[in-house]
Each structure stands twice: as structure tokens, then as C-alpha cells.
Symmetry: C2
Subunit: 189 residues, 2 copies
């Protein structure tokens, strides 16, 4: 998606540890017009699929998922990272290791909101090592839902998450894939 790549080059930055910082328009301050372009692009890329629900994970996935959901006419469910009084006792859970924070956390989705045989599209902002997405796939399996595919805004192609998902035969659509970071510049695949 050219407009997105251009925006990443213009407004993104590279921080220590190959962190790609896009908090100017994607995950702290949010450009709603760009999000709508992203939502339309996901709809095009999954146009031939039957999708009943979009699944994402708090926090930054939520903005992207709800705007995209308008083009699919489906509800969104977001996995929670923290326990909450507002969450049902009956949940599907998965443990996710975060490289960024160097700790394992549990993600949870209420059993009520993933029903058997529902067709699920996963949407998230970033894909690097793929641990968060693996957790969502695990939950989709536990709920006996069908994983239709995965839509990612920015994939770090030099980390192993994307390839590992593709090897499993899962349809993965990443709107911008960073192939490598060369002398503090991003090179897209």
C-alpha cells in the first residue's frame, strides 16, 4: 500500500533496537483518514472471503479493527491483556511472550463472543515475531472458529513472525513489509 509506505517514511522513525515508531499517525496519535484507507485496503484484499467477525488485541489494534470493520459490516472483538471485573469468568486464554517488554502475559476473550464455526479475520497494527498473532490463532482454534486470514498494517519482514505464518498456509496480508533497516533507513519488500 503505497500511501502507507510513504507515510511511514515521512512521519515514522527508527529507534534503538529496530523499533519502528509510528506513534505520529498509527498507535498514539491516530490519523483517521489513513485508517479509512487502510480499512478499504483490507476489504479489497479479503473481498472474496466470508467474514463474520474481526478479532484484534488491545490497545493499538482496536482503532484499526473498528475502522476496518465498517467496510466488512461485522462486529469487532478485542482480546484483553489484563484481568477485569468486566470480563466473564468463562474465557478462552492464551499466553503471549512479549519481546518488547520481556515478559509473558495472558490474553483473554470471553467464550460468548467467539462461537463455533464463525469466520474470523485477525487484524493488528504490527507483526514482528508474531507472538501476539499466534496467541489470537490459538484462541480461534480453542473456540473452534475458522481463521480466514490475518491483516497487518506493518510487518517487520526481517523478523520471523510473517514467514512462520505463511508457512502454515494462512492467508497473511501485510500492507507494508519492512525487508530490512539499512543505515537507519527502511527498505520495503
Amino acid at each position: 500500500m503505497e500511501a502507507l509506505k510513504k507515510r511511514i517514511l515521512t512521519d515514522g522513525s527508527i529507534e534503538e533496537g529496530n523499533v519502528i515508531k509510528v506513534d505520529n499517525f498509527l498507535n498514539h496519535q491516530i490519523d483517521i483518514d489513513l485508517l479509512n484507507d487502510i480499512g478499504r485496503e483490507f476489504k479489497e484484499r479479503f473481498a472474496s472471503e466470508k467474514i463474520d467477525k474481526i478479532l484484534t488485541i488491545e490497545a493499538s489494534g482496536i482503532a484499526i479493527a473498528v475502522i476496518a470493520a465498517q467496510y466488512f459490516n461485522v462486529p469487532v472483538v478485542f482480546a484483553k491483556k489484563t484481568e477485569s471485573k468486566n470480563l466473564d469468568a468463562e474465557t478462552y486464554e492464551s499466553n503471549v511472550y512479549s519481546y518488547t517488554r520481556d515478559k509473558t502475559y495472558t490474553i483473554r476473550v470471553s467464550k460468548k463472543y467467539l462461537r463455533e464455526n464463525e469466520n474470523i479475520l485477525v487484524i493488528d497494527d504490527f507483526l514482528a515475531n508474531g507472538k501476539a498473532v499466534e496467541g489470537l490463532i490459538d484462541i480461534i482454534g480453542k473456540a473452534s472458529c475458522n481463521l480466514v486470514g490475518i491483516g497487518i498494517v506493518i510487518e517487520k519482514g526481517f523478523q520471523k513472525g510473517g514467514d512462520s505464518i505463511r508457512e502454515k498456509g494462512i492467508k497473511l496480508e501485510s500492507l507494508a513489509i519492512v525487508e530490512r533497516i539499512e543505515k537507519n533507513k527502511l527498505v520495503f519488500r
Copy 2:
């Protein structure tokens, strides 16, 4: 907002400790059509105000804020509850006490995304004791921005957050105000 109140009565539930549970359509599974109705309603109620930016707080505020932002044609900024490598070192901070979790946490907004004299509309899902909103107001003050008003989906009118904000002369628009909970039934103001 009648459609919202009806939906709360139909799909919401009351849990121990006067928790109003609306995870069926608002803060776990999300009904995008209802969110669009909510966004349009906020736009109507703040139609006469000049708004440059919507400020909310992760996680459940994000979905509401980004859908509403489409009617205001402004970007969204969400305050973060956790420290992150993706967050600038230079932030406005405020400490927020959570009654639900019985602990104090720090919310942060990068100084880059709140500029002096910007006109800010605060949007969130719930208002009870008002601590989260007070934290956002504190940050808006520290950033020398103008607080235009506060838009809340569900206010617990029997807790003191709403009245305390109104007493300060701040424009507060709550789309559904629960006056009291009587024999396990919600009574709206």
C-alpha cells in the same frame, strides 16, 4: 440517546458491586453501527464547538473515539496506561486511581501530540468516580490546551464524577445516565 438506553437494557447486565456490564456491544465485542450512532450523537451535541483533536484513554475509549472522530474530521490521541518503548521520553503525565482495580496508575501522552491552545474534546466509554477523566483534564491543563468538553457513553449518575465535572462549569454530555440501580434494574435519569 434512546437507542443506546434501549440497548443497555436489552444486552447489558448488572454485576456485583454495581458494575454495568456492556461487553456485548461496547467494550469487548463492539457493535460498529451503534458506535456510528454514538459518534453522530456526539457530533450533534458538540456541533457548535471548535474541536481540533479528540483525546481518550486506552483501551475501550479508543473504539468510540476513532469512530466519533470521523464526524469531527480530527485526529485522535489516546493516553497510554503502560510504559512503552514506543512512547517518547517527553510526556505529560497524571496519576489516576482506579476503584475497580484498587490501584494508582500513570497515564501518559507524548508532548508532541498536544500543542498549546489546541481545542480538545475528551471521549470515553464510562464515567463513574471520574478519576480517569480528571487525569485527562490534568494533562490537557499541563499541555496548555483548551478543554472544549467531555463526551461519555454511559455515566453512573449515582457516583460523583459527573456532578463534580459539571460543578466546574465543564460541558459534559453523557449519552445515557444511570440514575440508580433498583432491585437489579437500571433507572435512567
